[in-house]
């Protein structure tokens, strides 16, 4: 659905997006994770044909975004939830959606059906005649999502849809995105919320002007944990370890950190080496309560990659 190759955007001397390449398949939820100013919104705007690219190329549904004659076709394929909801406050929720449905050439019967369907799904149907200006932030965000869906786009761009929402509203929005995921909608989600990205996205791209990593949340975690670096096993004993127990660990003892009953050991391959550690400790008289492999979280991956990637 999306193919981007070396996509770059410069504003004067400032490079906002630097040679970004990625692809998003149909039915996939792809998350763009990055700090403020990383180029997430600029990328979405380029892909939505709202701003031009400086170099590189990208295709949406097979249409090249660099070819202006494709812009209307691309815009018809996509729905956009911008970072600012941008509703018409004087118009009712229904009128807002009806206006956009008409601009997207949605047939009257289908438009009516979709407006009712999405407003109902988002819990706004009872408020359909109320002016959008009277809505809470969460309700406005939900209405903006309904607006982006009213013409049943093949691809939905969402630019930080839960930013600035209270936890309850954010959860409602996230749950709705998960509903859309079940319906196999292709979604491109910009976020700086790690938990949100991990829970919703099939794959994640970590952007910091450059795309520093792409993969499933699990792949990214594994990349940091197992990518040549050491991982850690945490052994909880029933009593503080004795010198004999530490000595029994042999060459591993140099990487052991002790804190009360807890031993944290750096291991290259904990799945294989844990049994050796347990054997050694038990033979030295240790009583083990638990053994856990401490793996890197997406947060660790994100922070490491963003710091290494620099920029901003």
């Amino acid at each position: 659905m999306i193919e981007a190759n070396d996509l770059t955007k410069r504003f004067g001397g400032l490079t906002a997006v630097d040679s970004v390449s990625f692809s998003v398949g149909a039915g996939e939820v792809f998350g763009f994770l990055g700090p403020n100013g990383a180029g997430k919104t600029t990328t979405v705007r380029m892909l939505s044909c709202l701003i031009s690219k400086t170099s590189g190329d990208a295709k949406i549904g097979g249409y090249d975004i660099g070819d202006e004659s494709n812009h209307l076709k691309i815009r018809k394929l996509i729905g956009l939830v911008p970072d600012n909801v941008g509703l018409y406050d004087e118009l009712s929720a229904y009128e807002n959606l009806d206006f956009y449905g008409k601009l997207y050439d949605c047939a009257p019967a289908k438009r009516k059906e979709n407006i009712e369907r999405f407003l109902t799904m988002l819990g706004l149907w009872e408020k359909r005649d109320a002016a959008a200006g009277t809505f809470s932030k969460g309700m406005k965000q939900k209405l903006a999502i309904a607006r982006a869906l009213v013409h049943e786009p093949e691809l939905l761009f969402m630019d930080e849809p839960t930013a600035n929402l209270d936890p309850e509203s954010a959860k409602t929005v996230r749950d709705f995105i998960l509903e859309l995921k079940k319906e196999k909608k292709t979604i491109f989600l910009n976020t700086h919320n790690l938990d949100e990205a991990q829970r919703i996205c099939d794959r994640i791209g970590i952007l910091n002007t450059k795309l520093v990593a792409t993969g499933t949340p699990q792949e990214l975690e594994r990349a940091l944990s197992g990518g040549g670096g050491a991982r850690q096993t945490v052994v909880l004993l029933q009593e503080p370890p004795t010198d004999a127990m530490l000595a029994a660990l042999g060459p591993l003892s140099s990487s052991v950190k002790q804190e009360g009953n807890r031993l944290t050991i750096d291991l290259k391959d904990p799945e294989r080496e844990n049994s050796l550690v347990v054997d050694a400790l038990v033979k030295a008289g240790g009583h083990i309560q638990s053994v856990t492999i401490a793996s890197a979280s997406l947060e660790d991956v994100y922070l490491k990659l963003v710091r290494e990637g620099g920029g901003g």
């Binding site: 504003f11 705007r45 939505s48 709202l50 701003i51 031009s52 209307l72 076709k73 815009r75 018809k76 996509i78 956009l80 911008p82 600012n84 909801v85 941008g86 509703l87 018409y88 406050d89 004087e90 118009l91 009128e95 206006f99 956009y100 008409k102 601009l103 997207y104 050439d105 903006a144 607006r147 982006a148």
Partner: protein
């Protein structure tokens, strides 16, 4: 360019303006107030012994007063037209609109129609009231009903719309270049200057605004300006600049 898209945008803007009090008041009050005030001036002047208006003076004054509606066209268009682009930008509604499958020309035409038709209706209604009141006020002195006549029809049906269109388009151009509504209104209100200058030139006898040929020439000149301004509006409407440089 698809007119259906422009109609949808214009209809949305109509709905939005209907809920803006300053727009409603300026459209519903000013053209009628001008008609009433000018009538009051004519009646007052006519009753003062020191400044009785002769019929010959009246026939010069009435077309001049009618020309006020052409000047008013620039004034009335400003609050709506200057809001068109910059207002949406300020309210953050421009990005989703620009993301729809509509062209710059369709958006500008829709916004232009929405800013053109309500003032036109208000000005036509106001000028109709003006002519009726003037006829009632001057019938006894002139011995006939001065309005309507060919020149007044030319002013109201041709000159007023092309002047209004010029003001709307100039305001749309300004609106897509400035970054706040007030700046848009202040710059947009400058469109009153060429029309006021035209009126001034008429009063100074530099041009005879009662002459049909002259009026037709002014209409033709303003129509050319309207066409140029439409293309200028399209050329100066830069989506990327609007989205990335405005704060």
């Amino acid at each position: 360019m698809r007119l259906s898209k422009s109609r949808v945008i214009a209809a949305k803007d109509f709905k939005t303006y209907r809920k803006k009090r300053n727009v409603i008041y300026s459209l519903a009050v000013i053209p009628f107030l001008v008609a009433i005030l000018i009538t009051a001036v004519i009646l007052y002047a006519g009753r003062r012994s020191t400044s009785r208006l002769a019929p010959a003076e009246l026939t010069l004054l009435l077309p001049a007063f009618l020309f006020f509606y052409v000047i008013l066209a620039a004034y009335l268009a400003t609050p709506i037209a200057s809001y068109t682009i910059v207002g949406e930008k300020v309210e953050k509604s421009l990005e989703p609109l620009l993301a729809t499958p509509t062209t710059d020309g369709e958006i500008l035409l829709g916004k232009g129609l929405a800013a053109f038709l309500p003032p036109l209706a208000a000005l036509w209604a106001g000028s109709a009231l003006f002519m009726v009141l003037m006829d009632l006020a001057t019938r006894s002195k002139l011995g006939y009903y001065f309005f309507p006549n060919w020149d007044s029809a030319l002013v109201i049906l041709l000159l007023l719309p092309v002047a209004l269109l010029m003001s709307v388009e100039a305001n749309v151009v300004v609106s897509s270049r400035v970054t706040d509504v007030r700046a848009g209104q202040q710059l947009g209100s400058l469109t009153v200057i060429p029309l006021a200058a035209l009126y001034g030139a008429g009063e100074l006898n530099l041009i005879d605004l009662g002459d049909t040929t002259n009026l037709l020439a002014i209409v033709a000149a303003l129509a050319v300006v309207d066409v140029v301004l439409f293309f200028l509006a399209r050329a100066t409407f830069r989506r990327e600049e609007i989205l990335t440089k405005w704060r």
